[in-house]
Subunit: 196 residues, 2 copies
């Protein structure tokens, strides 16, 4: 579901370019991705990529807003008992990241945020404010902003440690092995309940 | 203390190169750093950098092993009550990262691990195995390896969210604001005690 891989059947050139860009950002990060490289991966002329999207920043925005849809994330996390919201969030986040041996384009957004201020700003807005901030606010936490940021730190850290640093214990663990450890942490950050 | 900035007074050419490399890795990450760029920053010929260190990978190893000294980290964390080890670890880690507005070379190691397998392997060995793994083992945790990896994920995530993504709530929070939230999480991972 997180994959933006080309669908079977006819797809527009625009969609092919966005899918190719998502793969480039995931494989190389923001800095090392070029409009020319994306064009080559999509099998189109680089002038066309520039005509459709203007700049690498705009292309990145297109990829990010296709992958992170705050309403969809919130709906997935909100459906169920409030005390299991952390578990649903961790499960949703891991499903977006995809398989450990072949991380999907969502990981590209996270790794790009490390070397691009544009990517960092998008993640702040889409993931931290509009998803985690909304969730923390829904729990009427007194520390909603800090709690949302700390939840983001744990999720982003899990992504980096599992998909980039590739710590053995995290690549070996499946989603259901990780949930019992990470979900209560995320839940406590979001609800603003300090662990004693 | 985390800074490898040039000391006042005479310093060897070798030390100047390592210090310049640390600054380049911190500012640009591993991929975008070149031996030529390091040489320019150190004010020496790039042939000299290559003669001293051979490759960018070896230069990175030199920087990392100067910054992460497992014995020193373990000594800092071990000194005191066991139930406050998490707090000491978070405080030590944040002191290595340095000021929010001007992250030191230690952040360069973390950001480099996102785009370099060589850097990732070093972080796995130095930080995850030799520091966090030792700590988790000292608590006789049944899940020492997973716990150490999860503690690493929270610490690395805090670094990425605060210094790269720069979430407002995390850049505004000082070390002592973060400790009450993050230390119990790290403590619970290291001791293998799940939060219910």
């Amino acid at each position: 579901m997180a994959r933006t891989g080309r669908r079977p059947g006819p797809t527009s050139t625009r969609e092919s370019i966005v899918a190719a860009a998502a793969e480039c950002f995931a494989a190389q990060g923001f800095d090392a991705t070029s409009m020319r490289g994306v064009a080559a991966a999509a099998g189109v002329d680089s002038a066309l990529v520039r005509r459709f999207f203007g700049s690498k920043e705009q292309l990145f925005t297109e990829v990010a807003t296709a992958l992170i849809v705050p309403e969809r994330a919130l709906a997935a996390v909100a459906a169920g008992a409030p005390d299991a919201a952390g578990a649903r969030l961790v499960r949703y986040f891991l499903s977006l990241l995809g398989d450990v041996s072949q991380p999907g384009p969502f990981f590209g957004l996270i790794r790009s945020a490390v070397d691009s201020e544009h990517a960092a700003a998008l993640l702040r807005r889409l993931l931290a404010d509009r998803v985690l901030g909304e969730l923390a606010t829904s729990f009427r936490s007194e520390n909603a902003e800090l709690g949302a940021a700390l939840a983001a730190s744990q999720l982003v850290g899990l992504a980096v440690a599992r998909y980039a640093v590739r710590l053995d214990a995290l690549t070996a663990a499946g989603t259901e092995d990780l949930i019992p450890w990470v979900a209560p942490v995320v839940q406590s950050y979001l609800t603003g309940t300090r662990i004693s």
